[in-house]
């Protein structure tokens, strides 16, 4: 698809059937795309078509449907390879989501590399999915998890990071964009600094891929992961990009069909490339849907999306800052369109329930980032997260609902 020449948010909203819904009789103000994004009609159509016109299991069949299904599935892999600018198709592994992708790397790379006392460097901005898998493999191997601190604005401290990189560091795993407070992390600098010491880097791109162009070769990332449902694709699908040179050495993660070369009870040998890491029937139709979602994003244009979202972010930040008793958590210079906030004396869960009655969907809680909540010494926040289909009306509805909350609890 060609990039649209001008960005028309109302046209985009019409591509998403969910916006025909009302919530408690109100217009839907969906500000929870950071948790999961809505799906455009083209993705829904692709999913339905894949099941109703060309469905069969992939890879193992010579019959027509199996061949068509395989072409569509592998075509999605190529779409994603091109989108991330990976060097080869072998470097694109389909997973269930970001969480599975990180567990795969932690277990497989960790099993191969970690010795007692080795260090794994994370940051205070990480999602639990980029913390707990490392803790599990650390426990098994005797490696140690360390976390790079942030400043009060929520910015990753490169200088501290540089001091933490030692001979013992075996991997750095950091998020590209914080899901809880929106900070854009300087991943290029982090990768360069780590590589200067021969340390591998995993980037959690879950919150970056829907909002910005990512070129894994330009970044020189060793591992880059994201999840399909946040980039307007189906649930149940994610992507692990990993350099070939690493995949070749890494042991398999799960065993099963399709990832083997030859199986006997005495000895089993494994497939190569992405196959080694895709055990069992993959999420076929979900991968196809994700490919179409990525095509859709490209048809809108990530540059257009970024400009639009940044303008929403400015407007929302301005409007919300102006409300009494409201504190925005996370004020990094580089931020994605996420506004996390608290209201004095009113608990986020109560806020969530009350604004919901006005049709406003925001997330309240710790956003799977408890260490970050501990850093800010709050149990939870209210988070409004924006996507390409949000407009200024959404911001206005949010602001009105915040005012209503304060009214209610006065």
């Amino acid at each position: 698809m060609n990039e649209m020449t001008s960005f028309d948010v109302e046209k985009i909203r019409r591509d998403f059937p969910i916006f025909n819904e009302t919530v408690h009789g109100k217009r839907l103000t969906f500000l929870d795309s950071g948790a999961s994004a809505q799906k455009p009609t083209v993705v829904l159509d692709a999913v339905r078509d894949a099941y109703s016109h060309t469905y069969a299991n992939v890879h193992r069949g010579v019959h027509y449907l199996s061949q068509r299904s395989t072409e569509l599935y592998e075509g999605a892999r190529e779409t994603i390879r091109a989108h991330m600018n990976a060097g080869s198709l072998d470097e694109i592994i389909f997973t269930k989501g970001t969480t599975e992708a990180i567990n795969l790397v932690a277990q497989s790379f960790g099993q191969m590399e970690f010795q007692p006392g080795d260090e794994i460097i994370l940051s205070y901005l990480e999602h639990h999915s980029n913390i707990v898998p490392w803790q599990l493999i650390a426990e098994r191997t005797g490696a140690i998890v360390k976390a790079v601190p942030i400043n009060q604005d929520g910015e990753f401290l490169l200088e501290e990071f540089s001091k933490m990189l030692t001979d013992k560091t075996k991997i750095v795993a950091v998020t590209h964009v914080s899901n809880a407070i929106g900070t854009v992390v300087p991943v290029k600098e982090i990768i360069d600094m780590a590589h200067a010491k021969g340390v591998r880097v995993l980037i959690d791109g879950s919150q970056a891929i829907p909002h910005m162009k990512v070129d894994v070769q330009a970044l020189d990332a060793d591992f880059y992961v994201f999840t399909g449902h946040k980039v307007f694709g189906p649930t149940g699908i994610g992507v692990l990009y990993a350099k070939n040179e690493l995949l070749e050495k890494m042991p398999p993660y799960q065993g099963g069909g399709d990832m083997i070369n030859r199986v006997t009870f005495e000895k089993t040998t494994f497939a190569t490339g992405h196959s080694k890491f895709e055990a069992g029937t993959p999420p076929i139709v979900q991968a196809i849907g994700l490919g179409v979602a990525i095509d859709y994003v490209n048809s809108v244009g990530l540059d257009n999306i970024a400009v639009h979202e940044q303008s929403l972010l400015s407007y929302a930040t301005e409007q919300i800052s102006a409300i009494n008793n409201v504190a925005i958590i996370g004020q990094a210079k580089h931020k994605a369109a996420i506004v996390s906030f608290t209201i004095d004396g009113i608990h986020p869960h109560d806020i969530g329930t009350i604004v919901d009655q006005a049709g406003v969907a925001v997330r309240v809680g710790h956003h799977c980032a408890q260490p970050l909540m501990d850093f800010y010494d709050v149990p939870s926040t209210v988070r409004a997260s924006f996507a390409m289909y949000n407009n200024r009306e959404d911001v206005d509805a949010l602001v009105a609902s915040i005012n209503m909350v304060q009214e209610f609890f006065r």
């Binding site: 408690h24 109560d350 009655q357 909540m373 149990p379 209610f408 609890f409």
Partner: protein, 151 residues
């Protein structure tokens, strides 16, 4: 819209959440229980003092919670104070079944009305756990355990 909300956040609930009764810690106490809700990070701790006849002579709570869990804790401590352990456990069951929608009505004597008010939360399924958190903490304490997580 506000009607629905008013059903959940009735005056008495707002009042208990803003001015919680029995807030604080009993030290030392004979029983304590800590309720943690991993969804929101909230914690409610319940402290109880029992006499030799298994009567709850004193009960207090502290911790961090939303309006619903705070009001629930506050109203619970009011209701439970002076009851026997076995009555407390019955009330726990009564309230749990009301709040989760298992039962429509209960008969808890003079406490029925207060429990019914709190149970308005069942219209808001994602908030049921906020209301039951302090009750679980109390129940756990009486069982002689100390920690409970609800999800």
């Amino acid at each position: 819209m506000l009607d629905d909300l008013k059903e959940l956040y009735q005056e008495v609930i707002l009042d208990h959440s803003k001015h919680p009764r029995n807030f604080g810690k009993i030290t030392p106490c004979s029983h304590e229980g800590h309720g943690y809700n991993p969804l929101c990070g909230d914690t409610i701790n319940v402290y109880l003092e029992l006499d030799e006849k298994e009567h709850i002579t004193d009960i207090t709570f502290d911790g961090k919670g939303c309006a619903i869990s705070t009001a629930s804790a506050s109203m619970m401590t009011d209701v439970i104070k002076g009851k026997s352990v076995s009555d407390a456990n019955t009330l726990f069951e009564d309230f749990r079944s009301l709040a989760t929608g298992e039962h429509e009505n209960i008969n808890a004597g003079e406490d029925t009305e207060r429990l019914m008010i709190l149970a308005g939360v069942k219209q808001f399924p994602m908030r049921v756990k906020c209301a039951t958190l302090p009750w679980h903490a109390m129940h756990t304490a009486l069982l002689g355990k100390t920690e409970i997580s609800t999800e």
